[in-house]
């Protein structure tokens, strides 16, 4: 069996950044495994711009952002395999992958970085009543059809869910000549970015119906219409508000879920909130030597932060592969009032190597609040926030010096306060 220092599962934004960082941190051998025929992952189909403002201080399209990292991977001669699917990983860090050239490949890894991304919530997961006709796709599938394969899934479109992918696809389908009848959002607000509401919907006069949902899909073979209903405060459809809208295509943009079937095989403990692994400040999962980063860990809104997180994870994966062991994660990082979850979930109070970057999402929409970080109940960071929304990932950074000056760290908490 082949031995490799650091095996990276996935060649999208997280895997690419992890690979470059692992090399820079001195990994003896690296192997990146990518299921698709090219590196870059989902960025390749995200042909719109808006990527890289933090990382590269300029606005890039998805493929351009990926290209920056792919070039680095090539320059640094980092080995990778394409068209290669990882089918198993074990607690002992044995990786099994398959492709059509080599057949079954078995690798003993010093450390594994899981960077396998996320999946879209499919039609079957949201239980829409009605016919089981053709013409219902996830927004990401439609995006691949249009931007990579070059064909249009339909002409008269309804989009359910106003997350960013839904908004981006509303514009994309319009530009390609389809009529987007409406974007339907069950919540009283959109989970997409403000800028996408403006440049994807308002620019093209596409209506956004908030507090509405689809209560029926109708069509014999192909989708013919959907029934749109208003919902009440409890998100239940209100009788009498039903309206039938003709369409041939329904796109679903109803959420993303980290893809962790494989992690479970290596006994990686998952969070019921994020769907991703429970990791410490080094992005190490509950299984020693197995690390997770990017959308497989928690769904991000900005790829820039995926890159940053993955670079960090790779540094520690290289450490682990080199034989370094850290003291146990004895400090819990708690999601306090108004905070849905934090990543990382815990940390070690002993080996403090870096500033502690905590990423989190808030539970609802807030105005004129503060974000606070507390160590042992004492605020160490307090930042005024004019507006907070669950759709925007938040970050607090507790400086290394601040952590080191504590006699003892019992717990760390992030909260929304008045």
């Amino acid at each position: 069996m082949r031995s490799v220092d650091v095996v990276i599962v996935g060649g999208g934004p997280a895997g690419l950044a992890a690979a470059v960082s692992a090399k820079k941190h001195g990994a003896d051998s690296i192997l990146m495994l990518e299921r698709d025929a090219s590196l870059g992952g989902i960025l390749n189909q995200c042909i719109h711009s808006g990527f890289g403002l933090h990382r590269f201080k300029e606005e890039l399209t998805g493929p351009e952002y990926a290209d920056r990292y792919i070039k680095l991977v090539e320059e640094l001669n980092i080995p990778y395999l394409l068209n290669t699917t990882v089918i198993d990983i074990t607690r002992e860090r044995k990786v099994t992958a398959v492709n059509s050239d080599d057949g079954v490949i078995e690798i003993q890894a010093g450390a594994i970085i899981i960077a396998a991304g996320c999946r879209e919530r499919p039609a079957g997961a949201i239980n829409i009543f009605g016919d089981r006709c053709a013409g219902i796709y996830t927004a990401g599938t439609a995006q691949k059809f249009v931007n990579i394969d070059g064909y249009m899934p339909g002409k008269k479109i309804i989009i359910l869910g106003s997350g960013d992918i839904g908004l981006i696809m509303a514009r994309r389908m319009t530009l390609e000549g389809a009529k987007v009848e409406a974007v339907i959002e069950i919540m009283p607000f959109s989970s997409g970015l403000n800028r996408n509401i403006v440049q994807c919907l308002n620019d093209f006069n596409i209506p956004l119906y908030l507090s509405h949902t689809i209560t029926s899909v109708n069509g014999k073979e192909r989708l013919e219409s959907v029934v749109v209903s208003e919902v009440d405060k409890n998100l239940k459809p209100i009788k009498g508000t039903e309206r039938e809208v003709e369409c041939d295509t329904l796109l679903l943009s109803v959420g993303l879920l980290p893809e962790n079937e494989m992690s479970k095989k290596a006994d990686v403990v998952l969070s019921s909130i994020t769907g991703g692994a429970i990791v410490n400040e080094r992005f190490e999962t509950s299984t020693p030597g197995i690390f997770a980063c990017g959308n497989v860990l928690h769904v991000h809104d900005l790829v820039d932060y995926v890159s940053e997180e993955s670079e960090h994870a790779a540094k520690y994966a290289v450490d682990f592969a080199g034989g370094r062991r850290y003291s146990p994660s004895d400090v819990e990082i708690k999601a306090g009032n108004g905070v849905r979850y934090t990543v990382p979930f815990k940390m070690s109070s002993k080996d403090i190597e870096d500033d502690l970057t905590i990423r989190f999402r808030v539970t609802g929409r807030f105005k004129d609040k503060k974000i606070r970080a507390l160590i042992n109940g004492e605020p160490v960071i307090s930042r005024a926030e004019p507006a907070l929304a669950p759709g925007e990932m938040q970050t607090v950074v507790i400086r290394k010096e601040k952590l080191e000056e504590q006699a003892e760290i019992k717990d760390i908490m992030v909260e929304v306060a008045d």
Binding site: L53, G150, L175
Partner: protein, 124 residues
């Protein structure tokens, strides 16, 4: 005095801007958290511009579509003309990121450039 409400699209923060103008002259811009917001508000009020991203056909490429964009923002009113013009454009593989597909599109001063490198079919 006229008040215009708008949302800045320069970055993911999406600041809510309030622009006060009188006879087309901008008197005050509030709500922006950085200087780009000010430029955006002026442009948006006088002549809004957007970067256009789309695809063109790639002949004999590893994949059939080549993503492209305008090298800078073009007037919003020209978005559909730009897309229409590109509808029947095809280029031959290989394509290299940054390749100029159409120079000075619609006289805007912006070029249509490739945003991805894609090799020929059946070649590594």
């Amino acid at each position: 005095m006229e008040k215009h409400e708008m949302i800045c699209i320069c970055c993911p923060r999406g600041c809510y801007l309030t622009v006060t103008s009188e006879n087309g002259d901008i008197k005050e811009i509030i709500g922006n958290r950085c200087r780009r917001g000010e430029t955006y508000a002026r442009e948006e009020l006088i002549s809004p511009v957007r970067v256009v991203t789309t695809t063109v056909r790639l002949n004999d490429g590893k994949i059939p579509m080549l993503p492209v964009k305008t090298s800078k923002a073009i007037p919003k009113s020209l978005i559909f003309d730009c897309i229409d013009m590109l509808r029947d454009v095809s280029v031959n593989a290989p394509a290299c990121i940054g390749d100029v597909i159409i120079p000075n599109v619609l006289g805007t001063g912006a070029d249509i450039i490739a945003t991805r490198s894609i090799g020929k079919k059946d070649e590594d």
